[in-house]
Amino acid sequence: MKRYLFLIAATPVDWTSFTPEQQAEFMTQHAQFENHLTTHGRLVSTAPLAGAEAATTIRHRDDQLVVSDGPFAETAEVISGYYDAELPDLDSAIAAAALLPHGYAVEIRPAIPTPTPDDQVPEDQAQA
């Protein structure tokens, strides 16, 4: 199993402007996605995120901590939620992300396994 972070980028929309049918379809698509995760792997955690206006970005410039208001990049789409899940491979992750609402762009980022005290050798290095 590999661990993937699904970063969902979407144009901010007002949920209340959706019709009940649109809301139902949206929920179904998320449910199908989560169903794929639990069928083929494991959902570790997920959350919707507050809007980009609540984002804070930190960087280091010339060894100085620079804290700035806003997300990484100013674009129409912002990171609006995430899923952290374990799946067998990238094809399975792509198949899952394809189930999400089509207005999203989904960035799939493999998590790099880090050793824990119980597990000195990262398992995925042997599997990769």
Binding site: K2, Y4, P88, D89, L90, D91, S92, A93, I94, A95, I108, P110, I112, V121, E123, Q125, A126, Q127, A128
Partner: protein
Amino acid sequence: MTDAGEALSRVVGEDWGRLIALLVSRYRRVDLAEDALADAVEAAARTWPEQGVPDNPAAWLNTTAQRRLLDRLRSEGTWQRTVERLTTDSPTTAPGADTMANLPDVDDDLLRLVMMCAHPALALEAAAALSLRLVLGVSTADIARLFLVSEPTMAARITRAKKKIVTAGIGFDVPASDDLPGRLETVAQVGYLAFTAGYAPGSGPDVVRTELSGEAIRLVETVLGLRPGEPVLVALLALMLLQHSRRDARVDADGQLVLLADQDRTRWHHDEIVRARHLIDDLDTTDELPALAASNLVQALIAWEHASAPTAADTAWPRIVRHYDTLLRIAPSPAAALARAVAVAEADGPLAGLKALEGIELVGHRLESVRAELLTRAERWDEAELAFVRAIEACDNDAERSHLERRLTEMRARA
């Protein structure tokens, strides 16, 4: 070449991809497989001349490469984990030298390797380079030459692609049947990109780069050997064979490019043209094919019209115009519209061609070069002058710019 040298280059030429596929299938480490096999080939070059060629050269390379790969895993400290995984997972291919006694058994692994190298999560150029390197064993130096980059740049590109495969978890699998057609289209796109790279204008005509385009043909033939009759690949192979059949006539004795109409048609490879025709005849009509296969087929039909005309004057231009109409319906693009306008001019004269240019928007110099040539033929000298100047300004390739400048001078002499 010595017997040992010949045996080695034969087994590398024929079995490189299968050997890589076996290693990746067993150890799932595409980042180590290539180096391990390269080490084994080096060891063979050293020992075979003294000790004699082994009875089964491929098996010898497989065993040696496996040893090298295990050494690397041991030094990484992942050895123990790998052994545990190998004993719990069921490998897709039973390991051992006996596997190599019958290499066709490895075909499934070779298809998995093709699908991994031509994965849509890799950039097309990276996928093309990786496919040539891992599936066919083309050297990094040759791939660099094909894509007009330095060897270190190409080596870095290939390494990045292999790292992405391992890090992102691109699987070593034949895709599910729903996904397979789309994935074969990616393979076709990768193959065609590698093919056209050899014909892209460089600093000058480079016969070796053109020959390297032939490796892209070999790649598509290899995949067709694993998936016989796949329309998208059959149509692509026909298209590539027809274009490639003209390679020896494209460049004259001074190394200058020769236009299609002026080429010595006896220097075309007519056996390849005949083979392409058979491939075309085995396909369904464009209406029954998926878009990419249909688009490749129509382009092959256009190339066939040129290839089958005994002289340039015998070219069936009205039929070519109709093929372009079909192409624009299936896969509209400004480049295809421009090519259609050229065909219209040949069929119905320069004024009809100029009319067909209306509404085409295309960056670069090609649109204005075509306009300039058609205006020259229509003897509209002032407008032709303007179009030539605009084309020359927009052209960023030395060889093509000097061609345009020559044409402008010729036009002025006539005006």
